[in-house]
């Protein structure tokens, strides 16, 4: 495990300062794309809570983000200008929901958990389509209710939302680091490495992992809330399985459990993929090849490390 030294913390702070500075310099039209990348990066970080810390795969990240966005938009229609209440209520709601969902699923093995969370993702999409009088169905849902925070006022414009996304990413990173270095984080790590051993050492596996799952869900929900009010239009497609798969893709490329590398991978590679308009229909294939080669490269590096150790042992 990588211990978080003060130098590492400083590097993280410098990274966020640089990111913030670049956002203040960039022109508005580029911020539009940049905010999309940040939204994705937050979801990668959210998935890192359950996969990187707890070792549990989840394909429901998009659903949690969508849940946050839909809940916040619908509540804002009923209670405009009550953002200060709606945002925490939605976040806590999704936190509890994600945690409760993961409680019975904790005992499932990897493949079964992936399938079950995939089911959660599809259930969310189908529920949005079913209750179309509330959510607008496949046609999506428009909003003009802005987020209004006490002391700050109305949040509007690309630059303000850039700061919101950046703030969320920084908050997530802070919680991630704090969690990783805590007793709870070590319990999670034990669950990831050897579930039976962790349980026999007195770790309440289901509860600990539900907490990580819930934190990831809550972070996704926060990003979804911001995204929904930022774009002013949400539809089930924006929070479909593609978002969950993309989050998984970039997390795997960056290495689950690392803080900065997955975020960087999401920002850089998504920006690069966004530039490649010439790819067109080949984008799915490219995503697949990228994920596959990242997985194989990681495996190759791992097994090389193992064989080196084996050589060293007799000597």
């Amino acid at each position: 495990m990588i211990l978080t030294s003060s130098a590492y913390r400083k590097a993280v702070v410098v990274f966020f300062l640089l990111l913030g500075a670049s956002g203040l310099v960039l022109p508005d039209f580029q911020l539009l794309a940049f905010n999309q990348y940040l939204f994705l990066a937050i979801n990668v970080l959210a998935l890192n809570f359950c996969l990187g810390l707890g070792g549990q795969i989840s394909l429901a990240q998009g659903a949690f983000a969508g849940l946050g966005a839909y809940a916040s938009l619908i509540l804002h229609v009923r209670f405009p200008e009550a953002s200060a209440l709606v945002i925490p209520a939605t976040t806590i709601g999704v936190f509890l929901l994600a945690g409760l969902l993961s409680l019975p699923m904790e005992k499932l093995g990897e493949g079964f958990l992936a399938m079950a969370t995939l089911g959660v993702s599809l259930i969310f999409t189908n529920l949005v389509l079913t209750f179309d009088n509330l959510t607008g169905g496949s046609a999506g849902m428009m909003t003009d209710a802005p987020l209004t925070l006490p002391g700050i006022g109305v949040i509007a414009g690309d630059r303000a939302y850039f700061l919101v996304f950046l703030g969320l990413l920084a908050l997530g990173a802070y919680v991630f680091l704090a969690l990783r270095n805590s007793r709870l984080g070590r319990a999670l790590l034990a669950c990831k490495d050897d579930p039976p051993a962790a349980a026999s050492c007195g770790v309440n596996r289901a509860l600990v992992r539900a907490l990580a799952f819930g934190l990831g869900g809550a972070l996704s929900a926060l990003s979804g809330i911001a995204y929904g009010h930022y774009s002013g239009f949400i539809s089930p497609e924006q929070f479909s399985l593609e978002l969950s798969l993309k989050a998984l893709l970039f997390l795997v490329i960056g290495g689950p459990g690392n803080l900065m590398r997955p975020i960087l991978a999401a920002l850089v590679l998504e920006a690069a993929l966004g530039q490649m308009h010439f790819l067109g229909d080949a984008r799915t294939l490219c995503n697949g090849l990228l994920l596959g080669s990242a997985l194989l490269f990681g495996y190759w590096r791992e097994s090389k490390g193992k064989s080196l150790k084996r050589v060293q042992l007799p000597g």
């Binding site: 795969i57 699923m105 990897e110 493949g111 992936a114 259930i123 189908n126 529920l127 079913t130 090849l289």
Partner: protein
């Protein structure tokens, strides 16, 4: 009126159920031999069907040649899937292997978009099986074909697994790979073979589903997941139980689609999946051991 409804439910339920049953068999084969959930199962069906479609456009395919061509395509695709996922990462963690099949499903879907485009394509009915009418029960041509293909696949598969040397080897590897290899069985070969057989099954499913719902680049995930639900209902171990899990799921869906909306039907199916996974206690040991 009520009997007409019932006949309609039986007809469409059996048509889809047969397809789910074949997909579930493919899932169980791979799961038992390799302890791997194959996310690319639906894409096996998709590409198998699309390759068959191209072949049928190039030349005239008679019923027997069509079956043979489907089998050959399926075998090839399954073998390719094995050598690009599990074959490359045999010692990797189960999570990594699982995600490799996710990557494979993305790649294959991308390839299908590039080669065959995004529009749905109709696979012609290649087998000359007539429709059946027995009193109030009515089976359309598609249903009769799907059922025939499915039952024939299960019978053939159970004969292969029970009564041939290679089938016994595959079963031995699924019980205990180490012990099987001590008896001279090559586990890698058996796993590759079970992938290839899953590919053949998926191609058969494509022949059954292609004329019903057409082939589209994004159909793989849904069908694969339904196959997974069916395999979970059936419990993975017995061929016939897994197959009837598929039939049951098809009939349940047909009932739901007539009484509720299509989206609510999907919601209930996936909720059923999660409920089954959580409530079936005997499965978890098997996965944790792997």
């Amino acid at each position: 009126m009520f009997t007409l409804y019932l006949a309609q439910i039986v007809n469409s339920g059996l048509a889809l159920g047969a397809v789910y049953g074949i997909m579930a068999l493919g899932f169980s084969l791979i799961f038992n031999s390799s302890r791997l959930i194959n996310f690319a199962q639906g894409e096996l069906l998709l590409l198998g069907g699309l390759m068959l479609l191209t072949l049928s456009r190039l030349t005239h395919l008679g019923p027997l040649t069509a079956l043979f061509a489907a089998g050959a395509c399926g075998f090839f695709l399954g073998r390719v899937l094995f050598s690009t996922t599990l074959g490359l990462s045999i010692n990797a963690s189960p999570l990594r292997q699982l995600m490799l099949t996710v990557a494979a499903s993305l790649c294959w879907q991308g390839a299908a978009i590039l080669v065959w485009g995004k529009n749905p394509l109709l696979l012609p009915q290649l087998l000359p099986i007539p429709e059946l009418r027995a009193g109030p029960i009515f089976l359309s041509r598609d249903t009769a074909t799907a059922l025939t293909l499915a039952v024939a696949s299960v019978v053939l598969l159970s004969i292969i697994l029970k009564h041939t040397r290679i089938g016994r080897a595959i079963r031995a590897v699924s019980m205990n790979a180490t012990a099987a290899s001590l008896q001279g069985v090559n586990p890698g070969m058996c796993r590759a073979l079970s992938f290839a057989m899953a590919g053949i099954l998926a191609a058969m499913a494509a022949m059954a589903v292609g004329p019903q719902t057409m082939l589209r680049y994004d159909m793989g995930l849904g069908l694969g997941l339904k196959g997974f639900v069916a395999a979970t209902i059936g419990g993975y171990t017995s061929l016939w139980r897994v197959f009837f899990g598929g039939i049951l799921l098809g009939v349940i869906e047909a009932v739901l689609v007539l009484t509720l909306s299509g989206e609510l039907k999907e919601t209930l199916t996936y909720a059923l999946l999660i409920g089954l996974l959580v409530l079936a206690p005997h499965r978890h040991d098997a996965t944790e051991r792997a």
